[in-house]
């Protein structure tokens, strides 16, 4: 009898040892935090030139993080930060002008940010993300459609998730209002980002 009681106690101890970390891992796995991987993330934009054609540009320096909760997507969040001074259209003189007070005033307002305030799942892999978008010193609430592209382990063994969105903004609403006759007011923003899970 004494031996059976000891065996039961040992069994409970073993189960506790095995199950507690497993349950804990399951909870972590439901909501994971990711660091945005700049090497596999792109912020592109497209501007209309004098109603004649399009000019494309990009911001190579992007960072931030997001949380993703598979069981409750509404509990997820995303925070993205872009270095305004990294703007690149592959024409040096134009890039300097874009960084100047005529456009981004990148030295005065060094980052462009997006902070989500609510997320709603709209389809199997699609989400409607509402958040505060800040350019220069102007913050506006915008809602964008975001697609979950995929997930999996990268070559270094870290778990990754990737997302994609395209949306339009009126740059003049953000005090980026230099000469709309030459550079169109409407900008198409194309954002693709991958995050690496944090340990």
């Amino acid at each position: 009898m004494k031996n059976r009681k000891g065996l039961l106690t040992g069994l409970i101890a073993v189960l506790a040892f095995v199950l507690v970390p497993t349950l804990s891992f399951a909870q972590d796995d439901a909501e994971q935090t990711f660091s945005i991987d700049p090497a596999h993330s792109s912020v592109l934009f497209r501007a209309n030139h004098m109603n004649i054609g399009y000019v494309f540009g990009m911001f190579p320096e992007v960072g931030g993080e997001f949380t993703f909760n598979e069981e409750d997507p509404a509990a997820s969040s995303v925070s993205i930060e872009v270095e305004a001074g990294s703007v690149e259209t592959f024409v040096d003189k134009r890039d300097k002008h874009l960084r100047s007070p005529d456009f981004l005033s990148a030295k005065e307002f060094s980052t462009i940010t997006f902070e989500s305030t609510s997320i709603e799942q709209t389809g199997d892999k699609t989400f409607e993300v509402t958040g505060d978008f800040t350019i220069r010193d102007v913050t506006k609430e915008i809602t964008i459609d975001v697609k979950h592209l995929g997930s999996g382990k990268g070559p270094e063994g870290n778990f990754r998730r990737g997302f994609y969105t395209e949306f339009d903004i009126d740059r003049t609403q953000f005090n980026v209002d230099w000469n709309p006759k030459v550079v169109g007011k409407k900008l198409r923003i194309i954002l693709a980002f991958e995050g690496v899970v944090k340990n």
């Binding site: 100047s100 007070p101 005033s105 006759k181």
Partner: protein
């Protein structure tokens, strides 16, 4: 495109200049017979009010930069009216000037202190240098304006602001260049009125208000660019207004009337033109020409 040029010409130049001219005519009607000794304070309150007002009109009409122009214009009006009303004691004038310069510069280029000048030593060095440069600008215009009636000072202001606007347009900030151009426009209006009545004077009050706006916009343009513009030409622009003193040196101080004005304006104009030409050679064309 035509609309943009129209707005810049009308709201950035014509309207500010017209209002400036009218207000100055109200303060000191040229058709009223005056003598040099009757008009020691010509363009005092009118200039102090209308130079900043002109800048605000240009800002609202053209959507200029930086965003806090109305606030700096308000400080410039207060400083200008204080200078107009208070000549003594000197220490009070300099105290108010120092407060005004510090306030404006911090409002305009405070981001430099926060993010780029990372040590107290850098803050003090740059802060003191900028305050000293602006104070020197005040002193030059104030002294020459009191001693020299007529168009000498406003014409110099116009040339200087036009050249500085051109400099910043070349190195890539059209918006701020446009605002400095508005300062050239209001100085141009003052020149016309001063030519009409050669006994009028631009100092005091008006010159400090104008100087504060000019110095503030210039420093904002300089430090808001990601890369510093060519420092050689910029240094010439900093020195240019002080060449006004040349008319007080040696035998040159015996020149009278239009010869004195022509000499002073010519040296300031030549320096400004040299700065512009050098900049053009270095950067090779307008900052916005890629569009």
């Amino acid at each position: 495109m035509e609309t943009v040029i129209f707005n810049a010409a009308v709201w950035g130049i014509l309207v500010p200049a017209t209002i400036t001219g009218l207000l100055m005519l109200v303060e000191q009607p040229p058709w009223r017979v005056t003598s040099e000794s009757d008009t020691p304070l010509g363009f005092g309150w009118a200039g102090a009010l209308t130079f900043p007002l002109g800048l605000v009109i240009a800002y609202v009409g053209t959507g200029g930069a930086p965003k806090n122009i109305p606030a700096i214009a308000f400080v410039a009006v207060l400083l200008g009216l204080f200078e107009f009303g208070i000549r003594k004691p000197q220490w009070a004038r300099w105290l108010v000037r120092a407060v005004a310069i510090t306030t404006i510069m911090f409002a305009l280029i405070g981001f430099q202190f926060a993010d780029y000048w990372t040590t107290l030593g850098q803050d003090l060095l740059w802060g003191t240098t900028i305050v000293a440069i602006t104070a020197l600008l005040f002193e030059t215009f104030d002294r020459v304006g009191r001693n020299r009636p007529g168009a000498t000072v406003p014409l110099t202001m116009m040339i200087l602001a036009a050249g500085t606007a051109g400099f910043f347009a070349l190195v890539g900030t059209a918006r701020v260049a446009q605002m400095i151009g508005a300062l050239a426009a209001v100085a141009g209006a003052a020149t016309v009125v001063a030519l009409w009545n050669c006994n009028t004077r631009i100092a005091p009050g008006a010159s400090t208000a104008w100087g504060l706006l000019y110095a503030g916009l210039t420093m904002f343009a300089l430090f808001s660019l990601m890369e510093l513009p060519p420092l050689g030409p910029f240094a010439i622009l900093l020195v240019a207004p002080h060449l006004l003193w040349l008319g007080d040196v040696g035998p040159l101080k015996n020149l009278s009337g239009w010869k004195d004005t022509a000499l002073r304006v010519a040296v300031v104009g030549a320096a400004t033109a040299a700065a512009l030409g050098w900049t053009q050679a270095l950067v090779g064309g307008g900052g916005g020409s890629v569009y």
